[in-house]
Subunit: 666 residues, 2 copies
């Protein structure tokens, strides 16, 4: 098969000496490596500058601009410099091969005078870029492969989110969070998609559209801008000690949000009706897309949880690993990373798997680690998260000027801002009403719907078509606006909505029990089933910190229970601490009353029981108040097990008799 | 310019629908991404397995096989499986373009039916591979780009080596270490090169050589196998608490060794005589190579030290950063990484720069960090080092079977083993004789010359020619042999050479002062000048832990000194600790007598002074002994400054008067 091919080789010095030629090639490779190093150095120095300025801001207590916003500003400035101030001398060594091949293979072998060179596909280049390819050389160099975001930068961010989730508050508000994340994101995606389709039709009418823009593209846009980012707002919440339930709602929502939006966007891409016209509605394709969504989401979820459980089991079995924190940390890190790779290799979504892996690790594996490894893993992921996040945000600023295929369309941009607002409103208000969340919380959640790393990564992943380029440019503006304006306005908004700040965690705990739990029966019910099962069965099997199985399993399972229970569990029994609270919760103490027994589990793991003396911040009035408020839905966290109304028939044994029982057993 | 090009496209379904085509391309990219994830997963699981086995070994106290040796064995096994057990279905989508272009450009643009695709050069493929390219697809996939080793895996290893150097012992033996590292490595390189050239001539005579093999190739081989690896032996030394001076000699030698061998090998590559015959001797080219060596080495050294000093100054100036350990750690990490990138961007050797940066960071910046950041940075680099090292060693095992261009030549291999032995002997024995190192230390150093990560990385960097392929295969065998046999034989060798193990650091400190320092005047002299300058001037300027400059600078520089001295220095003055000792040294306490004052600086920083009571492990007899042994070369480490004979004329002020002086000043 021989085709006519024309080669445009600008001014190549034809040398016969192959050695000299090799040297030239080597020098070129070296030059390219130097350039790469310099490019990366620009980013590293950007991050360094950001860090030093963050320090200055924290020092001066500036709250109007978060570090992510700052990183974006620095990125913007560097982008302007790269775009307009630096002119790179043209590199004339690009060869354009033109041939009528019908495919662009991933690997290309070029036979250059008897030697074979391998080339790998980097991507498509638009026709307009061909002409000034030399000018854009440097700009294209600072533009990373978008897959870097998905494979290197996003996983640590999402894992950290899962790992640092305030799990108690998360589970307590599980119902609302799941509603926001699943129902809310899908609603928001479709509202935005429909609204944008209206805009697109309008643009088509008045001739403002320069290319194809299908309904699926609109839906895709809806999916990517529905992913909210927790970073900026929650950093401020953390600093101001905002109500922990609002925190949990926002954090839980944005974390799961990202996962849902990611899977949703890939399901929309998977929507491929058969036949010629690929952009019509077809029930089968729609169902298939829905199936993809369910399959990918549940597969990733299962995979993430499974790896987490495997890690927990390894750390549970190889207890002597605790003596070698380095090995322990390395193992933890590798297992978490392998979750991502495994999910990607299986065709699931690595980022989603990593999120659930992080949550599982925090809930089970963390308890089996030595205290030193607990610190190490926390700090390691904190650092990775910090670096990755600031990198993404400064890169975002940079791309506004260095990305070459921007399509800024005023109508689309205005429409997008409106659509994002509407979509957020359609997500938050109806669901909040159903979940009986107070109106000031509703407004705050509405306001705090910033778009960040995930939205950016999803939009930059594919910028091949006109529609995608317009989406990318618009998304950038949405991110800038929300991070700067909504992020900066968080503190004024909090005081405007009269949301309490500086809430002591004890007190907050108390309030949330009253305010949220007692009104949301369905959520509490879900929480209770889960907590009972987890605390009585999963924790003892997977960690050393649960109660012994012998105490929680029915008597008939005695031998099995004894076989599965670790010796530490018996030791821990008396002084069991709820290790969850130590993670990042900083929740302080829990002190809840049940009947005539008050068990106060404090952060150090010691507990006091017997008379209803109450915990640190609880006086006798409050204890009485609480008993009244709880009526028949008491939530009692005890040293050994959680007793809730559903197993009320079985009279809870006092702690001492429990321990006695075990002593006689063993 | 139109050339005849033939395209061999195997069975491509020609489809007119561009959308369908895009989907096919996307699916292919997805497939390739999945495959990449699976490949990486293999390595991650390999590492996980290694970690679990290491734990088992540590638990059972096996010393005959180190973790690196173990990682290699696992790598070997996986390599066998990949090579022989797995058959990947052929991917027929590679297109071979053949054209008579005279260069292989870094970027190639292919015009596929109107669309332009960008391809990047991956590398040359040998003619033999072309025929079975489909079979080798998977094997080539698990073979990383060799630059990954230099840009990702080596930097953390080398940085960690510099950061964890036992600096006190290093500086004490500076003379010997520099001699081994510079003179020794060059001698070893030339001995090995000459010997191998003899082998090559012999092979040429008897017709065993299948390609070109020049003298510069032999020298290159000499350079790469002269880099010794500290990992395996020193891990055992650490465990057995072997004499700290032997440790320092070996560690210092192997660390600097790597840097010297790396720069040496690039200088040899840079040896390019002008004219047609590129492999003759030419004085100018030789001098130029020497210039390259000096330039690159000193440039990298200066750059590394400069970045270290800049980081120290930043952490010295922004003292409030200490309140935010996350920012501090991130800054430290980024600055260290930027050293590497900066050096590479400037055309120096990043790995060498990173080594000296690590040493500078440990010596100055470390003292300015908050205790939490000190832990964090130590742990972070420990983890990165551990992962990178085990990755390299397991990869080494893997390549024995997955690398496709092995050239195993029995004569060359036997010659190489002999040459490595001779080279090491020519390095160690003459220099040890000059430096008056005891014979058992000499034999141990001879035995402990393992080859590891650096040798491997250097040899895999370029495997394009026949000579380089033969070198690579032989190097692999040398590494395997030394790591397994010499690494495993370390413990028997130690007992055979009657080298004391389980040396308490106090006692060891005492012995080294007697045994090494008192006999090596020139080394001690170098050490003393350096220590005086560093302790009195550099430390106060760059860290908060030195004595105030007001006390060390002459009186005339008073205003300058006051301006440069941080407030902490005055506070620290009384209770100054020698922070070096805390890093990784684990040296315990220092207790040395001077005249009638004994200052014992213990690990916690508190000090006792006044009567000559001596430190923890020192009784009055030993104190007397020591005073006799020191004669006129006392080495006194005091709370505030180091007093050595060279400034004996100035009578050292007692501590209390020092403090009094500062109090009156401020």
């Amino acid at each position: 098969l021989c085709l006519s091919v024309y080669l445009s080789i600008p001014s190549l010095s034809v040398s016969e000496d192959s050695a000299m030629e090799n040297i030239v090639t080597e020098k070129k490779a070296e030059e390219s490596h130097r350039q790469d190093s310099a490019d990366l150095l620009v980013f590293i120095l950007l991050l360094t500058l950001t860090i030093l300025t963050i320090w200055l801001f924290k020092h001066r207590r500036c709250r109007f601009l978060h570090e992510t916003g700052l990183a974006m500003i620095y990125g913007l400035l560097v982008g302007v410099v790269l775009r307009y101030a630096i002119h790179v001398p043209s590199d004339m060594n690009n060869v354009t091969l033109s041939c009528n091949v019908n495919a662009s293979p991933a690997t290309l072998l070029v036979n250059v005078s008897g030697k074979f060179y391998e080339y790998t596909l980097k991507g498509e280049i638009s026709g307009s870029e061909i002409n000034d390819i030399q000018d854009n050389e440097m700009l294209r160099k600072v533009t990373f492969d978008p897959e870097v975001f998905f494979n290197i930068l996003l996983p640590p961010i999402i894992f950290h989110a899962g790992y640092s989730l305030k799990r108690r508050h998360f589970f307590r508000n599980l119902g609302s969070i799941l509603a926001y994340a699943f129902v809310g994101t899908v609603v928001s995606c479709f509202i935005i998609g429909l609204f944008m389709y209206g805009c697109v039709l309008l643009m088509k009418q008045i001739g403002h559209l320069g290319g194809d823009f299908f309904f699926t593209d609109c839906l895709f846009f809806g999916a990517i801008v529905s992913a909210t980012d927790p970073v900026t707002v929650l950093a401020i919440f953390n600093e101001l000690q905002v109500d922990a339930d609002l925190y949990a709602l926002l954090f839980g929502e944005s974390v799961l949000n990202d996962a849902v939006a990611l899977v949703l966007s890939s399901s929309i891409v998977a929507y491929q009706p058969e036949g010629d016209n690929t952009h019509t509605f077809e029930a089968m394709a729609m169902l298939k897309s829905f199936g993809v969504f369910l399959g990918v989401f549940s597969g990733s979820f299962a995979l993430g949880v499974a790896t987490g459980v495997v890690t927990a089991l390894i750390s549970f079995t190889f207890t002597k690993l605790r003596e070698l924190p380095l090995l322990e940390t390395a193992l933890f890190f590798l297992m978490s990373w392998s979750t991502f790779l495994l999910a990607e290799a299986c065709g699931f979504t690595g980022v989603v798997a990593v999120l659930f892996c992080g949550m599982t690790q925090a809930h089970y594996t963390f308890n089996n680690l030595s205290p030193e490894s607990q610190d190490r893993t926390k700090q390691l992921f904190e650092l990775l998260n910090f670096l990755a996040e600031n990198f993404i945000f400064s890169y975002m600023g940079l791309t506004l000027f260095t990305f070459h295929n921007h399509v800024f369309n005023p109508i689309f941009i205005v429409g997008a801002f409106l659509a994002v607002f509407l979509g957020r409103a359609a997500n938050i208000y109806p669901l909040s009403f159903l979940n009986k969340i107070t109106s000031n919380f509703q407004h705050m959640m509405m306001f705090a719907g910033l778009r960040g790393a995930m939205t950016f990564a999803l939009s930059i992943r594919d910028t091949a078509t006109y529609a995608r380029q317009m989406m990318f440019s618009t998304t950038l503006l949405v991110v800038f606006f929300t991070v700067w304006i909504c992020g900066g306005g968080t503190t004024p908004m909090l005081s405007c909505q009269k949301i309490r700040v500086g809430v002591d965690s004890d007190q907050e705990n108390f309030v949330s029990v009253f305010g949220v739990l007692s009104t949301k029966q369905e959520s509490a019910w879900l929480f209770r089933i889960w907590y009972n099962f987890d605390h009585n069965y999963l924790k003892p099997i997977l960690t050393h910190s649960g109660p012994p199985l012998t105490a929680t399993l029915p008597a008939c399972c005695g031998p099995l229970a004894r076989c599965l229970t670790s010796p530490q569990a018996y030791e821990n029994e008396g002084q069991l601490k709820d290790s969850d609270s130590d993670l990042i919760l900083n929740d302080g103490d829990i002190s809840l009353a049940y009947g005539d027994i008050t068990v106060s589990t404090d952060a150090t793991g010691a507990h006091t029981s017997g008379t209803p003396v109450g915990g640190v911040a609880v006086n006798s009035d409050e204890a009485l108040d609480r008993e009244l408020a709880f009526s028949d839905h008491e939530l009692v966290i005890r040293g050994t097990r959680l007793v809730l109304p559903m197993d009320d028939s079985e009279h809870p044994l006092p702690l001492d008799s429990h321990r006695h029982k075990n002593e006689t057993m063993s």
